[in-house]
Symmetry: D2
Subunit: 380 residues, 4 copies
């Protein structure tokens, strides 16, 4: 059977927004988009300065525009990939969607639940991929599929952590990099830096693997570095659908930590554990049996993990491949929209604007809980 | 200079209370007491049935008594070691202390803060060692000394977990072992099983290493196994002295877990991490420098860790040695009391009845927070 | 200063030889070539069947040729990347080099020392990159630089292992995949399968990091799976330049193993250890000090590692990036040849045909030692 | 049924030889002997100086003698435990055995194969336990039982390493500790220090778990620290019964190493791996299935491991318990000899004088191979 991509017979035309010189995330998005050759990056808005944008884009091999509307009007795009500061997402996403162009957007979706809902409304009927790339690791897909298959029994509890060190020092007092400048400006990075930046990742990871929505929370939220005006620490008590208990800890100010993401999901008969630093493996501990370490490439992984296999077992993959998995599946969905041919259903398990709405609902509920001295709050 | 132990010139006479046939903790206490030959176990109350007690004690090589008063009256003890169910501690501790006999007692100290205070009052002027054995691991002593020395800078946050699996199944429905029978009976095991059983360990571990008191908390406390009437799950948001934030997670119902205890203490310039399964090592991660793995036996450990070295670096020690460290130091203190010679100050860093009072204050504050739907509560 | 790549102002034109449908290594080479956008893959010889080649190439987006000469004659290439079975390398490399086209070639370089020398002779004055990709991991470059800088003192010993499981079963008795078919045919895979396939990797890895040549060896070489006619096991005692002792263990028949590559280099004052499964880290154990775990992205890595950083610390990279590091540096060298501008000296530390010659000298010495019942043999 | 120990109704009377003040191994032996209360240490020869011996013994709570004959004549012993330098073992073992006293002896059994055979001859009909304590770890017993049960299929290969750092520096140039003094004196420590000291441990470990005898070897043996006159490095190619291939690497001069012992046994369908630093666990990797980590205390361990369980799963045990396992089983055997009651067959799986003979045969074969420039040599 012909796949949408094969039927299309050409790479998709992608425009990028943001990720210019000095960006951390820009090169990852571009490498991911190109890795499977399903996209050509043909255009980009890398700066609002026309000349700077042109030269940066030229160096990267595509056409530069100094505004999203200009690019949308001119570049005959199939999709845009948006990796600007959070406060730009709503306008840029809506512009693209209004122009009939599908969207791949970095997280968090927006800086408010209202904005997120605006985007989600606009995205209806379009392909929209929110790049929570951690849930595109094969072993995370395996974890989700195992939970779904009942391998660990009825769910009992979840624990998720996202720990970083980048803001453990008094970064406000040094010279600010462009990235730090917008992050430390709450009008750009949103009402809770730690939650927007990494808390939404942790929230999405737990909900995605458990396949449950967050329903209530009680949050301890603030700054652990003296004098800091943005949040750098969150410890949140959770309830997921069905009354499942959980905890979420996120901080960017834990000195000595190495971008540590850990997820544990406990069921009646066992638990699974995954940690970013060993992304190619997954621990399965069934009560009363030896702990098992599943590896990417193992013969009996479930289909959602198996299909993502790129390099054979024992040859490590990294974040680039995880990001590329999202781009590859988004390409399948976009090609399906264009050609009208059905997409592989397993390819459609990427986070959409709805995941972004859920993330902002989580964030706003945490703010409300803080405002009420940690009271339990329903999540919108 | 003559040490108290050397001056005494004989092993201390120890009587044990509890830990009879089938007990988990009894053999550990007895092996720990004997390992350094500072105690002779000369008497014990292993059962209230006179005949059963006599035969059990005979098999272990000491004299059996069917009550604590009987043993105290007859056995010329220097100390008793109490390892009965929690609800017996107050009466037994007070009886021994009233008889002028020093006490080594298993945790939790009691089943209420009031009882704990009664014991602590009675213990004034006596040697009292509460066997929070995890804080007697050499690398935990190293961690505490490093925090004290400022190695990781001003404290920022603590995270402590104590995760077990023993009650992840529907244990209430099977035949109850004697141990399970008293644990599942709240009149014996206290008002919150998970907190008394392992939560107090986690609380003590965090406070001991951080060298800070817990001041406030907000608790999520309950049972995650359907139909269970005792608590098997606790997730608690913490504030330590000076406003240090933290989290404590404890559960006995997390299927597949292997008695996992993990502590992380974060400071302004780095953090330390210790996990029970690798008790002979300690991770030190200083911001901007390679992560270091300190090992028991390393040349430059600080004195509180160095003095506990038994077997050379690279030869693993386990829980028996940790317990024995408490007994050895308690022996030093007891011999000091008897001989009047000063004890090595480093030997006096074991948990006392005051640690037990702190543990019960923690437990009762958590109960109060639960009763108030998770509100922040001051810790007595 | 203008770099050769910038001065060139266009991607290099690359033709691929081998790596057609079903190939394990083909997709890795192609992804690596494209990741940094310094190459365009414009042509390929994927099959000797003209039609099959054309369609396979078309599906991958480049022009198909049914022979290397045809491609060389027509495709205006700057370089070819050769990933055919070993027995094809000599002819294909020499054809390209004779046509003035630089070569990137998979290992082992050839199936005999004589052939390897033929290629190395032909490669003189050209760019030639042998894709021992494991030595292009950043932390391996760090290891080499640290050894060079004397961090672990004068060298004492090396230990290297390459352990696989793919041939632990009786693969000869099942249906052979194309890859297995040529590997099990000694006329194609060479006189010692295990040494050609993975032993040369282990040899190169040890010599590259130690920065020493192998001088003597004593080999135990054979098959551990009963009835097997090709070698699947090698255990070799080593002497490197200066009398450094070592061991090399390689096998493809160790059931349950996950492509495990481990290197340890010992010096007078410490050692380093690296293992493939944790490619983003490197262990440094200095005598009398805590063991250190260096991470890709650490602030104070040495320049040869620092320059390879792609994604920030804590975001795992994998084999694709290691391969791409070779391609990127080969591109620098090729562009330097074309433009006449000097290449970054740090970019020229990739394995060349000389490494391939060393690998075949190692392999033939091992064969000689086997023929002499394990006697010590000088390496060519 | 009455056990020999129960029937005996008293602790066994043990005399110790060696292990005086400053000894590394003395405290371990004594703690191990006492842990299970099956032995009383009633006498000891800690020094040939009568006064020093008396005071050292008194401090440890037993009677001091200044010679083995004197102790044997006077102390009514059931057994002696010998932990003197190797060159004393033959005389001391034979004296005890001639006196009808059973022997527990540290390794290596002797300094020559001839002496080892003399002891083994004398030991016939007596209980003789050689304290290769590493094979008394529960998870090593589990490994042996699993190999025996065919869990990993027909054996294919073994790899064993014993790596230490204590002699990585120029220890000869400093002030020698008593321990170093006799170790550096080949007339006392034997003809190959590294093999006697740790090589015999590695040899025993591999042969014990594989349950195979070593038949042939080819050895690379010498010193890697310049100027050293005793061996500190051994890399040995092995053949076990049935032609099983293997490697053994042992060195005391690998800077930065932490007493690292690793064993891997490969079979047709999987392998097992154990490493000393994680003695409470065992890796089982079956081809095509997730890697399993078995833990001491797991419900389904095989009887030889299950019976050694002391503390519940998740509570680490260490070297003291491993040593104590040997003493406990030796006690069972000794009590059986005294009472005439049958011992538990599972208790009789400890290393005897025959294991010591095998160790010396291994050592002498390695010396022969070295003398023949690494030729393959039959093991006596």
């Amino acid at each position: 059977m012909t796949t949408p991509i094969a039927a299309l017979g050409r790479p998709l035309r992608l425009g990028v927004v943001g990720g210019g010189p000095g960006s951390f995330i820009g090169p990852i998005h571009r490498a991911a988009a190109l890795l499977d050759r399903r996209f050509d990056i043909v255009a980009g808005v890398l700066s609002s300065d026309a000349e700077r944008c042109r030269s940066a884009a030229a160096a990267l091999g595509f056409a530069g525009y100094n505004s999203v509307p200009a690019m949308l009007a001119d570049a005959r795009l199939d999709a845009v990939a948006i990796m600007t500061p959070n406060d730009r997402h709503t306008e840029e996403c809506c512009a693209a969607l209004a122009a009939g162009v599908d969207v791949i957007c970095d997280k968090p979706l927006a800086n408010s639940l209202a904005d997120a809902r605006t985007i989600a409304d606009a995205a209806r009927g379009h392909v929209f991929c929110l790049t929570h790339a951690y849930t595109a690791y094969p072993m995370i897909r395996q974890a989700r599929a195992m939970v779904e298959a009942g391998v660990i029994g009825e769910l009992r509890a979840v624990q998720v952590e996202y720990l970083q060190a980048g803001m453990s020092g008094p970064v406000e007092q040094g010279e600010l990099t462009p990235k730090l400048r917008w992050k430390l400006d709450a009008t750009r990075s949103g009402p809770s830096l730690v939650l927007g930046d990494i808390g939404t990742h942790a929230h999405h990871l737990a909900c995605y693997v458990a396949n449950r929505r967050l329903t209530r929370l009680s949050a301890d939220l603030g700054a652990i570095v003296p004098g800091r005006e943005v949040d750098d620490y969150a410890a949140i008590l959770l309830r997921l659908d069905g009354g499942i208990r959980g905890t979420l800890i996120a901080s960017q100010a834990l000195a000595g930590t190495e971008n540590s993401i850990t997820l544990r999901i406990y069921g009646a008969t066992g638990h699974i554990e995954w940690t970013h630093i060993r992304n190619n493996h997954l621990t399965l501990a069934l009560q009363g049996r030896p702990v098992q370490t599943l590896a990417r490439g193992d013969a009996d992984l479930l289909p959602p993990a198996q299909r993502l296999l790129r390099i054979a077992r024992g040859h490590p993959e990294g974040l680039t491949e995880a990001f590329a998995n999202l781009y590859r599946d988004a390409a399948e969905a976009i090609a399906s929209r264009i050609t009208g041919l059905p997409a592989d259903p397993l390819a459609l398990d990427f986070p959409t604007a709805e995941a972004g709405v859920a993330g902002m609902a989580f964030l706003e509920a945490a703010l409300t809980s803080r405002a009420r001295d940690g009271a339990w709050v329903e999540v919108g």
